[in-house]
C-alpha cells in the first residue's frame, strides 16, 4: 500500500507538470481525487488492512491527498496568472490616437481682460455698477462739468439720437448715476461699451469698452488716488510694475493725470509695444471736480474723491499682442479660437 501511494504521488507529479489549461487540471483532479480517483480507491481499501496499520497508513494517505490538493491549487493559480498575462498582452492600444473630447468654447480676449480687472478691483473692495449705453447729454457731459464748447460734444465725436440723447462716449455717466442714488462712501467700477464717431482703422473703432472707477469718502486725497492705482497695476500687470503720474486735463477731475506704467512686455527695456519708450500710457485719472460732486448732490466740502478710466481693448491688445483693433469685432473663428478661459 505504501508503494501504491508512492506510485500515485510520482505519477501525479509527472502529469501535473504537463497540465496547461484549467479544464485539464480539473480532469487531473478527478483522475486522482475524484469519486473514482486513484487515491480514493486506495483509501477505500483501508478497511482490508490490519487494524494496527490503519492509523499509520491513514495518516500517510491523508498526507498524500493534502499534497495533491495543494499542488492542484498552486497550479491553478499559475495557470490563471499566465492567462491574465496573455489577455493583458493582447490588449495593447495605440495611446497616441486622439482622445474623444467634447469641444470647449473660447472666450473673447476683451472678456478675459474684463474678468481680470473685475477680480483685481473686487479684491480691493470695489463694487461693479452698470448703466445704459443710450445716455442723456446731461449725464454724459453736463453733469461731468464738460464745457459747452468742448470738442468731445461735437457730432464728429459723439453719436446722437436727438438733442438730449446720445450713445455714451465713456462709462462716466454710470458714476453720475451711482452718486445720484447712493451716499458716500462709494467705491465702484463700471465696465461697458462706449461709442465715439471714429472711423474704423487699425487703432480706432466706433465702439470700444471702457473701465472706470470712482472712490468717494471723507478724507480721500490725491495720495490715495496714487496708492490705489499703483496697487491696481501691480496686481494686474505684475508686482514690479511702476507707475508715473503725469499732469493732464479732463473736465470732470482736478487735478487730472495720465498714468504711464512700466511696459509689461519688455519690463521697461523698450520694445515695439511701447515704441521703445519702456512705458505704456494706460490710465486717465484725477480728483473728482467739485462741480461734479455738487451736481450729484454730494457735499464737496465734506467729501472728496477720485476717478479713473482705461480702455479694455488697449489692455487686451497689448497683452495678447494684437496689432489691429478690427480683429476684436470681426469675430473670425480663427481669431477667437486662439483664446483660452
Amino acid at each position: 500500500m505504501k508503494e501504491q501511494l508512492n506510485a500515485i504521488r510520482i505519477k501525479f507529479s509527472q502529469e501535473i507538470d504537463e497540465v496547461q489549461e484549467l479544464q485539464e487540471l480539473e480532469n487531473l483532479r478527478i483522475e486522482f481525487l475524484g469519486k473514482n480517483g486513484a487515491l480514493t480507491e486506495i483509501l477505500r481499501g483501508m478497511g482490508k488492512l490490519p487494524k494496527e496499520d490503519r492509523p499509520i497508513m491513514g495518516a500517510l494517505a491523508n498526507e498524500v491527498r493534502d499534497e495533491l490538493e495543494a499542488k492542484i491549487e498552486r497550479r491553478k493559480e499559475e495557470i490563471k496568472e499566465s492567462l491574465l498575462e496573455e489577455k493583458i498582452k493582447s490588449e495593447w492600444i495605440d495611446i497616441t490616437l486622439p482622445g474623444k473630447k467634447a469641444s470647449i468654447g473660447h472666450p473673447h480676449p476683451s472678456t478675459l481682460t474684463i474678468r481680470e480687472i473685475i477680480d483685481v478691483f473686487h479684491s480691493m473692495g470695489f463694487v461693479l455698477e452698470d448703466g445704459p449705453e443710450i445716455e442723456t447729454v446731461l449725464n454724459n457731459f453736463d453733469a461731468l462739468n464738460s464745457p459747452p464748447d468742448h470738442p468731445s460734444r461735437d457730432m464728429s465725436d459723439t453719436f446722437y439720437f436727438d438733442e438730449k440723447h446720445l450713445l455714451r462716449t465713456h462709462t462716466s455717466p454710470v458714476q453720475v448715476r451711482t452718486m445720484m442714488k447712493q451716499k458716500p462712501p462709494i467705491r465702484m467700477i463700471s465696465i461697458g461699451r462706449c461709442f465715439r464717431n471714429d472711423a474704423l482703422d487699425a487703432t480706432h473703432s466706433p465702439m470700444f469698452t471702457q473701465c472706470e472707477g470712482l472712490v468717494i469718502d471723507e478724507g480721500i486725497t490725491m495720495g490715495d488716488l496714487k496708492g490705489t492705482l499703483e496697487q491696481f497695476v501691480r496686481l494686474l500687470f505684475g508686482a514690479d510694475t511702476e507707475s508715473v503720474f503725469r499732469p493732464h486735463n479732463f473736465p470732470f477731475t482736478e487735478p487730472s493725470a495720465e498714468v504711464d506704467i512700466t511696459c509689461f512686455k519688455c519690463k521697461g527695456a523698450g520694445c515695439r509695444f511701447c515704441s521703445g519708450s519702456g512705458a505704456i500710457e494706460i490710465l486717465g485719472c484725477g480728483m473728482v471736480h467739485p462741480a461734479v460732486l455738487e451736481h450729484c448732490g454730494i457735499d464737496s466740502e465734506k467729501y472728496t474723491g477720485f476717478a479713473f478710466g482705461m480702455g479694455i481693448e488697449r489692455v487686451a491688445m497689448l497683452r495678447y499682442e494684437i496689432d489691429d483693433i478690427r480683429y476684436l469685432f470681426e469675430n473670425d473663428q480663427r481669431f477667437t479660437r486662439q483664446f483660452r478661459r
Binding site: G105, H122, G125, Y160, L200, P206, G223
Partner: protein
C-alpha cells in the same frame, strides 16, 4: 504746438539744461512733450560755402560747373540748380556728408566733369514742401551775405536741438504761443524769462480808419496802419524760424503777422489798405446766403451769425478765420492795415467747423484771446517791423478785464492732495507761475487770495489753484497711500450670474463673439424683423452702422455668414449684449444672450443647451410653438417662464437662410438676461435620501405622431403621484410602415420614503398609468 528750442532759449534762460531734461521735466509739470524733431536727425556735414565762379558744363545743357569756396579750399561742383550765381552763399554737402533720406554724398563725375559734393535745397535737408518759401521751392538755398563761411549750416543757425511738439490740453490755450510756453519753462526750471513787455501805445498817432465793431461778437479791435512798407521777402532768420515752426514764409508783412501770432498767441491779419476803400472797418454778423471768396481762392457760403470784417460795403474777411482774396498783400502793396482783434469764441468755432476751415488763427480765436494779449501782439509786431516802414498809426478799441481773485484755503492742500505745505512754500509755488496773492482770513479759514495773470483764463475756482500746487510740487512727490475700506464690496448677484453663465456657455463648447450695437437697417430687414420704430443714429459713421440692433441675432447671422465664407465647418457662438427698441416713445435697452449653431446639431441640441442653462439657474420653462417670422414655423418655440416669454429658439426659416446665403442647419436662440437673472436661484436645503429601495419599470408606447412628449409626461405624472419619483424618455422610434405612429419609451422609478414598495403595488400603479395613457392618448403598449 510746435516750439523751436533755439527760440525758447532766446526767451528763457535755459543755460545748462539739456533737451532730455526739458522733455522729462516739462512733461511732469503738465506740458506733455510728444516728441522732438530736428533737421540734424537726418543731416550732417552740410556747410556754408560761397560760389566763386559759374560756367557752362561742356557736355550738358542743363548742368553748370561751379568753383566753390568752402572757407578752407576751393572745390569744383556740378549742379543743375537754375538759381546759382557768382558770389552767392550756398549750402554745400561735401563728400562724406549725409542728407535727408539717408543720401550719402560722394565725389563723382557728372558727364565727364569731376564734382566734389552737392549744392542743397531745403527739400534735400528734409523740410516739407508745404513750408518752403516759394523763392526756394525750385532751386538751391541762397543764404544771406553774412552767413558764416565754412561753418556747419544747422549749427550756425541753431537748428540742431530741433523743434518740440508740445501737447496743449484744453484748459491751457495760453500755451498755444511761445509766450505761454516760455512762461511754463520759466516756472518749471525756475529760470528767468526775457519776454517782450506790453508797450503803452497811447503815444502812437491816431489812425485815419474808422473802426466800428459789434461788441457782442468782437469785443476788441485794433488796426495799425503802416505806410512805406514793401512786401519783400522777410529776413532769412525769420523765414528759417517760420519753416521750423511749420509755417510757410510768404513775404515780410505776412511773415510778421505769423511770427507775432506764434509768439503772442494772438492771430493778426494784414490787409492791403489801398484795396479797402474809404469807409473804414466795420465788423458785423453775416446774413444767410452771403458769399465771399477767401484768400485760398474758394467761394464760401455764409450763415447767420458768422463774423464778418467789412469795409462798410463788401466783405473783406471772415473774422478770425481767413482773409479775403482781393484785399491780401501783394508785391504792389504800399500801405497796410494790420488787424489785431478778439472775436466771440463760440461763433468762431461754429463757423470754422461749418466751413471745414480750421486755421492756426481759428484754433486760437475759438479758445478766446484776451485784450492784454492783443496789446502784447501789437508790441511784438511793432518790434518786428522796426525800421521797415515810414509811418504807423493806431485806431480801435480795447477792453481790459481784470481777472477775478480766487480764495484758496491752506487746509484744502492737505485735505485734497495729501501733502503738508507751509504757507510760504505755497506762496513760492505761486510766485513761480507769476500768480499774485494776499494772505487773508475768510469765514475763519486762513488762506491766499490769488490773482492769476491775464493769460490764465482757466483759473476760476479753488480746485484750479490746488491743481497748480500739485503739478508744481510734482505728482511724483506726493506720497502714495491707500484709502480706508469703510464698506466692504458685495458683488452684485447679476454680475455673478453673468460669469456663471459665461462659464457654462464655454463648457458647452460655445465660442464668444462681440458684435456692434449698431447695424445696417438692411440686415434687420433681411432677418425679417419688423421694427416699427427703428432707433436710428442722427450722425452714424455710415449706413452700415446707423440703426441700433433690436436683436442680437442680426449680428449673430452676420458672424455665421462671414465665418462660413472663411471656410469654417461648424460653428457654435454666443453673445451677451444689449438690444435696443422704443417703448411708448422711450428709448429702451435690454441685456440679452444669443446662441447660434451652424452644422453643430439640430433643434434638440440647442434646446438641450438652453435646458442645461435654465436647470443651472433653477428656472423651469415650458415651450410653446414659436411666433417669430424668421424661424421655421414648425421647428421653433417660445420659451415661457412663469407666464412670460423668456426668449425663443428655432431653426432658421429656409427663406431667411436663403436671403442670408447661409448653407447648412442653423438653429438660433435668444434669451432675455435681465429676466433670467431676476429669478432667484433656489437655495439648496439638504433632504436625506430615502433608506428604502426603489422599483423601476419601463413602458414603450405606440402613439399618434402628433402626440407630444409633454402630453405623455403630464399623464404619467398625474397618475403616478405620489409614488412616482422620476420619469425619463429613453427612446423614440418610428418606422415608415407605421403610418402616422411613433414609439416613445419611458423609464419610470417608484419609491417611498417610508417603506419598501411591494410588487403588487408597483404593478397596480403601472397599470393605472397605462390605462390612462390608453384612454387619453390612445396609446398602446409595444
Amino acid at each position: 504746438m510746435k516750439a523751436q528750442i533755439a527760440w525758447l532759449r532766446e526767451l528763457v534762460d535755459l543755460e545748462g539744461i539739456s533737451v532730455e531734461q526739458m522733455i522729462s521735466r516739462m512733461t511732469m509739470s503738465g506740458t506733455n512733450i510728444e516728441g522732438v524733431e530736428s533737421v540734424c536727425d537726418e543731416n550732417r556735414g552740410v556747410i556754408i560755402a560761397q560760389i566763386k565762379s559759374v560756367r557752362a558744363h561742356p557736355d550738358a545743357k542743363k548742368l553748370l560747373v561751379c568753383d566753390i569756396d568752402t572757407g578752407t579750399k576751393v572745390v569744383q561742383v556740378v549742379t543743375g540748380a537754375p538759381n546759382v550765381k557768382e558770389g552767392a552763399r550756398v549750402l554745400l554737402a561735401l563728400p562724406g556728408a549725409r542728407l535727408f533720406g539717408g543720401v550719402d554724398i560722394q565725389a563723382t563725375e557728372l558727364r565727364g566733369v569731376h564734382s566734389e559734393g552737392m549744392l542743397c535745397s531745403f527739400e534735400e535737408l528734409g523740410y516739407s514742401k508745404s513750408v518752403i518759401a516759394k523763392e526756394y521751392s525750385d532751386g538751391i538755398v541762397i543764404l544771406p551775405e553774412d552767413a558764416p563761411l565754412g561753418e556747419e549750416f544747422a549749427q550756425a543757425y541753431g537748428l540742431c536741438e530741433g523743434v518740440m511738439e508740445a501737447e496743449i490740453t484744453f484748459n491751457r490755450p495760453d500755451c498755444l504761443s511761445m509766450y505761454g510756453l516760455a512762461r511754463e519753462f520759466s516756472a518749471t526750471f525756475e529760470r528767468e524769462a526775457d519776454l517782450l513787455p506790453r508797450k503803452d501805445f497811447s503815444t502812437l498817432p491816431p489812425g485815419e480808419v474808422k473802426v466800428e465793431i459789434d461788441e457782442s461778437i468782437c469785443p476788441a479791435y485794433i488796426a495799425l496802419e503802416f505806410e512805406g512798407v514793401e512786401a519783400v521777402s522777410s529776413p532769412f532768420s525769420w523765414q528759417l524760424r517760420l519753416m521750423e515752426m511749420g509755417v510757410r514764409p510768404i513775404n515780410l508783412l505776412v511773415d510778421a503777422t505769423n511770427l507775432t501770432m506764434l509768439y503772442s498767441g494772438s492771430p493778426t491779419h494784414a490787409f492791403d489798405q489801398d484795396t479797402l476803400g474809404p469807409e473804414g472797418i466795420r465788423v458785423r454778423a453775416a446774413r444767410n446766403g452771403e458769399v465771399t471768396e477767401t484768400l485760398d481762392g474758394v467761394k464760401r457760403k455764409l450763415c447767420d451769425g458768422d463774423i464778418l470784417i467789412t469795409n462798410g460795403e463788401r466783405i473783406i474777411a471772415i473774422g478770425g478765420i481767413m482773409g479775403g482774396e482781393d484785399t491780401q498783400i501783394t508785391e504792389k502793396t504800399k500801405r497796410v492795415l494790420v488787424e489785431f482783434a478778439t472775436f466771440d469764441k463760440k461763433q468762431i468755432r461754429l463757423t470754422s467747423k461749418r466751413l471745414g476751415l480750421r486755421t492756426e488763427a481759428s484754433a486760437r480765436f475759438e479758445k478766446g484771446v484776451e485784450s492784454q494779449r492783443i496789446q502784447l501782439a501789437v508790441s511784438i509786431f511793432l518790434e518786428l517791423m522796426k525800421g521797415r516802414y515810414s509811418s504807423v498809426k493806431l485806431s480801435g478799441i480795447l477792453f481790459e478785464k481784470e481777472r477775478e481773485a480766487v480764495f484758496m484755503r491752506y487746509s484744502r492742500v492737505a485735505l485734497l492732495l495729501g501733502i503738508t505745505l507751509k504757507p510760504d512754500e505755497i506762496m513760492r509755488l505761486f510766485e513761480r507761475i507769476e500768480f499774485s496773492y494776499e494772505e487773508i482770513e475768510r469765514n475763519g479759514e486762513r488762506g491766499l487770495l490769488v490773482r492769476a495773470p491775464f493769460y490764465r483764463s482757466d483759473i476760476e475756482i479753488e480746485a484750479d489753484l490746488l491743481e497748480e500746487i500739485a503739478r508744481l510740487y510734482g505728482f511724483d512727490n506726493i506720497p502714495s497711500s491707500l484709502p480706508a475700506l469703510n464698506k466692504p464690496a458685495n458683488q452684485y448677484s447679476a454680475t455673478l450670474k453673468e460669469w456663471k453663465l459665461r462659464e457654462l456657455l464655454w463648457a458647452l463648447g460655445i465660442d464668444e463673439t462681440v458684435g456692434y450695437s449698431f447695424v445696417s437697417p438692411g440686415h434687420i430687414q433681411r432677418l425679417g424683423l419688423d421694427d416699427q420704430e427703428p432707433l436710428m443714429l442722427r450722425n452714424p459713421l455710415g449706413e452700415e452702422f446707423s440703426q441700433m440692433r433690436p436683436s442680437l441675432l442680426v449680428t449673430a447671422l452676420e458672424c455665421l455668414v462671414n465665418n462660413q465664407k472663411r471656410g469654417a465647418q461648424s460653428q457654435a457662438i454666443y453673445e451677451i449684449g444689449n438690444v435696443f427698441y422704443r417703448e411708448n416713445g422711450e428709448m429702451m435697452q435690454e441685456k440679452k444672450l444669443s446662441i447660434s449653431i451652424l452644422d453643430a446639431g439640430d433643434f434638440y441640441v440647442l434646446k438641450g443647451m438652453i435646458e442645461m442653462i435654465l436647470d443651472d439657474f433653477g428656472v423651469e420653462a415650458r415651450y410653446e410653438p414659436g411666433t417669430s417670422s424668421f424661424f421655421h414655423p414648425h421647428r421653433s418655440a417660445d420659451i415661457i417662464v412663469e407666464g412670460n416669454i423668456l426668449g425663443n429658439i428655432g431653426v432658421l426659416h429656409p427663406k431667411t437662410a436663403a436671403v442670408w446665403e447661409l448653407e447648412g442647419e442653423v438653429v438660433l436662440a435668444e434669451i432675455n438676461l435681465e429676466r433670467l437673472f431676476s429669478y432667484d436661484i433656489p437655495e439648496t436645503v439638504f433632504t436625506a435620501p430615502s433608506r428604502f429601495p426603489t422599483s423601476a419599470r419601463d413602458i414603450a408606447l405606440l402613439v399618434d405622431e402628433k402626440v407630444t412628449h409633454e402630453q405623455i409626461v403630464d399623464v404619467i405624472e398625474a397618475e403616478g403621484v405620489p409614488l412616482l419619483q422620476k420619469v425619463e424618455l429613453f427612446d423614440t422610434f418610428s418606422h415608415p410602415s407605421w403610418e402616422g405612429k411613433k414609439s416613445m419609451a419611458y423609464h419610470m422609478v417608484f419609491g417611498s420614503d417610508e417603506r419598501t414598495l411591494n410588487t403588487e403595488e408597483v404593478e397596480e400603479i403601472y397599470d393605472r398609468i397605462y390605462t390612462r395613457l390608453k384612454n387619453q392618448l390612445h396609446a398602446q403598449r409595444r
